[in-house]
């Protein structure tokens, strides 16, 4: 061929992109699916696709630094003798000791307590450090029941029955052997160093009728004092919320697919479940249809990053939000100052998600004592508290701009969507129009 003949530019396939090719090669080499932490990384319709309208002639705003804008929330008002009151509508999601170091759990408790909110145990039980440093602690009741005991149940301020989580609705868990230290093994009644599997279904109830009886038992054991949450992954948010209410939940937690996990198959994280944005309105609709909106509180989680996300979730009808991945970043996870160490692990700051391997240079997702002691629970806790306060101030800023004296007064009418997809999911008008896809026959 004449070297002067023009050639087409080499073109890579959109279907077989670089990531896909690398995954095929990795699978062919190792013979095992990819396991990682965190939530869905693919581009999804999200809160960024919504905008607040702000005040105008028909609405008047509140003065930013003078007029009060409340942020408190009371959770568990339906049946519990002792509902919990939080200063801010942002809670810390369940993350286990085992997947996280004891220092990280302590830091989460410190930060949440300073900010006036709750933190949550995880699949592995309650540690004394966590209880000691958390003013308000939610105790997760999971299918595996690792570490479950009635004393900790009574020591908790609330109970969260985990049916599913957004990263893997319908899936169980896996904590690889390298993170099963002596202490983790002891708490979970397992031999050290083995892969610890967590069941996907509870061992002693099946379906909403049984769940109602299970909740009754938990209330009896705890003298009907504790609010009981039911956490579901973002799969069928309308029916799951309705059935959680039927089962007797005080609080429903809906976790979208951007919600993180300690370790799950990549294929599960990216291909099962619904985006958080798509879950909120169906869940709220279920509560409204049952006459239980604001009576049974709704917590939304999965990809909450800033005060705008908080405000948008509340405007769509949530009572509070919960953060996990963002809280770990606030503690120091994926920080660029550790770039050299991330490079040694074959990754880069911002992309590190092999949390299951226990080699986290930030000392957060590890059981290695040398790595774990890098994290100062007080300093990290302070960072988390700062972050929570900033998110709260941001949500208040938006609420005041919309003329609301409490963040719970935000409403769907304050929002428009930038995309047709987001408009359909959030059931708010496409910006510049009065069109809500699916409404009015269109």
């Amino acid at each position: 061929m004449d070297p002067n003949t023009p050639r087409t530019t080499p073109r890579k396939s959109a279907t077989f992109d670089d990531y896909t090719l690398s995954e095929i090669r990795r699978a062919a080499t190792t013979g095992i699916y990819d396991i990682r932490g965190a939530g869905a990384k693919r581009k999804l319709p999200h809160f960024d696709d919504l905008l607040f309208l702000g005040a105008s002639i028909s609405r008047y705003p509140l003065e930013g630094y003078r007029e009060k804008c409340g942020t408190n929330v009371v959770l568990g008002t339906r049946f519990a003798k002792k509902p919990i009151e939080l200063k801010i509508p942002i809670t810390i999601a369940g993350m286990s000791f085992g997947s996280l170091s004891a220092q990280a759990k302590e830091a989460l408790g410190n930060g949440a307590t300073i900010a006036g909110t709750s933190t949550t145990t995880g699949d592995g039980g309650m540690t004394p450090e966590e209880r000691g440093h958390s003013k308000t602690l939610v105790y997760q009741y999971l299918p595996s029941r690792y570490g479950m005991n009635p004393d900790d149940l009574r020591r908790a301020d609330a109970i969260e029955v985990v049916v599913g989580q957004g990263a893997k609705p319908g899936g169980g868990g896996m904590l690889l052997g390298q993170k099963i230290s002596d202490r983790v093994a002891q708490m979970r009644c397992l031999p050290k160093g083995i892969d610890q599997r967590s069941a996907c279904r509870h061992p002693d109830w099946t379906g909403p009728d049984d769940l109602e009886i299970k909740l009754h038992e938990l209330r009896e054991i705890t003298n009907w004092e504790k609010p009981i949450y039911i956490k579901v992954g973002g799969a069928r948010p309308y029916y799951d919320t309705a059935l959680a209410v039927k089962s007797g939940a005080d609080v429903v937690v809906v976790d979208g697919m951007q919600g993180g996990t300690a370790a799950t198959q990549e294929v599960f994280i990216e291909h099962v479940g619904q985006p958080t944005l798509a879950c909120i309105r169906p869940a709220v609709q279920a509560l409204q249809d049952l006459g239980m909106h604001r009576k049974v509180q709704l917590i939304v989680s999965g990809g909450i990053r800033n005060g705008a996300d908080v405000a948008k979730a509340l405007a769509l009808g949530a009572d509070a939000v919960s953060i996990g991945t963002a809280a770990l970043v606030a503690l120091g996870d994926n920080d660029p100052h550790l770039e050299e160490e991330y490079q040694k692990l074959g990754t880069t700051a911002g992309a590190y998600d092999d949390w299951h391997e226990g080699r986290d240079p930030a000392g957060i997702t590890t059981q290695n004592p040398e790595l774990a002691k890098r994290l100062d629970p007080k300093i990290a806790g302070r960072r988390l508290a700062n972050y929570l306060k900033v998110m709260t101030l941001e949500a208040q800023t938006i609420a005041r701009a919309c003329g609301k004296n409490h963040v719970h007064n935000l409403e769907p009418e304050d929002l428009v969507a930038l995309t047709v997809e987001a408009a359909a999911m959030a059931q708010v008008p496409l910006a510049g129009t009065s069109w809500i896809p699916g409404k009015g026959g269109y």
């Binding site: 031999p191 038992e217 054991i221």
Partner: protein
């Protein structure tokens, strides 16, 4: 059903306090039992008219004897600590679930998930137990006078399951370190569960369990099952076992 001999002896030692569940409700009954101090002298209770209600005598935390005078629903004796609970009838799902210590005895049969996730103590079922008996058990000892249903001892981590009758399909699926003893036939074993040699040590342990359960059986008639430990760390060549 009449109280057994051992119970009758205990009953004679001290005054038995009767509570009528039909009058006081589950909440009233449990409230009274939960408020007892560890050193209470009100150590022997009879719950009359249990009517198959759920969550009877759950969450107890004192060395007392509680007799349930009939059938119980779900989760009777759930999360028990220290108490001896005697169910003079059948028990619903999840009897003695997550028990920490103490004893729960069922005179009749038990429904599914008996002793689920139990951490300690002894569960005795005189009759049969349905599916998933001892699921995710974490240290409890369970002795069943009759047979158990399918998927019993699923993901069983620690403790002992003794079955004097037969075991259903997939016994001990994905089992960890729990030990299983079966006198009758086993329909099938679950993933990673194998038959193991019965040594003198195991015979002695089994004899102690049967004695404690007050069930007459010859340990030499039993076979032992446990984990092959091949699924403890993921290996792609074992994927067809999952």
């Amino acid at each position: 059903m009449a109280p057994r001999d051992a119970l009758a002896r205990k009953s004679n030692e001290q005054h038995m306090i009767e509570i009528d569940l039909e009058k006081e409700g589950v909440r009233g009954v449990n409230s009274r039992l939960h408020t007892l101090a560890k050193d209470t002298n009100q150590r022997h209770w009879l719950i009359k008219n249990p009517m198959g209600q759920h969550a009877i005598a759950c969450g107890l935390d004192a060395p007392i004897i509680v007799e349930v005078g009939g059938h119980a629903g779900f989760y009777c004796g759930g999360m028990n600590k220290e108490a001896e609970i005697l169910i003079h009838g059948h028990a619903g799902p999840g009897v003695a679930e997550n028990m920490m210590s103490g004893i729960v005895r069922v005179d009749g049969n038990a429904s599914q998930s008996a002793g689920a996730t139990g951490n300690g103590g002894l569960l005795v079922i005189k009759g049969d137990a349905a599916s998933r008996c001892g699921i995710s058990m974490k240290g409890i000892d369970i002795v069943v006078g009759g047979s158990v249903g399918h998927m019993s001892a699923f993901m069983a981590q620690r403790g002992h399951l003794v079955v004097c009758g037969d075991a259903g399909e997939a016994l001990g699926d994905s089992i960890y370190e729990a030990r299983l003893y079966v006198r009758g036939k086993v329909d099938s074993l679950g993933a990673d569960c194998i038959e193991k040699k019965m040594t003198d040590h195991h015979l002695a342990k089994l004899a102690r369990l049967l004695d404690k359960a007050e069930i007459k059986a010859n340990p030499k008639d039993f076979r032992r099952f446990g984990s092959a430990r091949k699924l403890y760390n993921f290996n792609i060549d074992h994927a067809d076992a999952y």
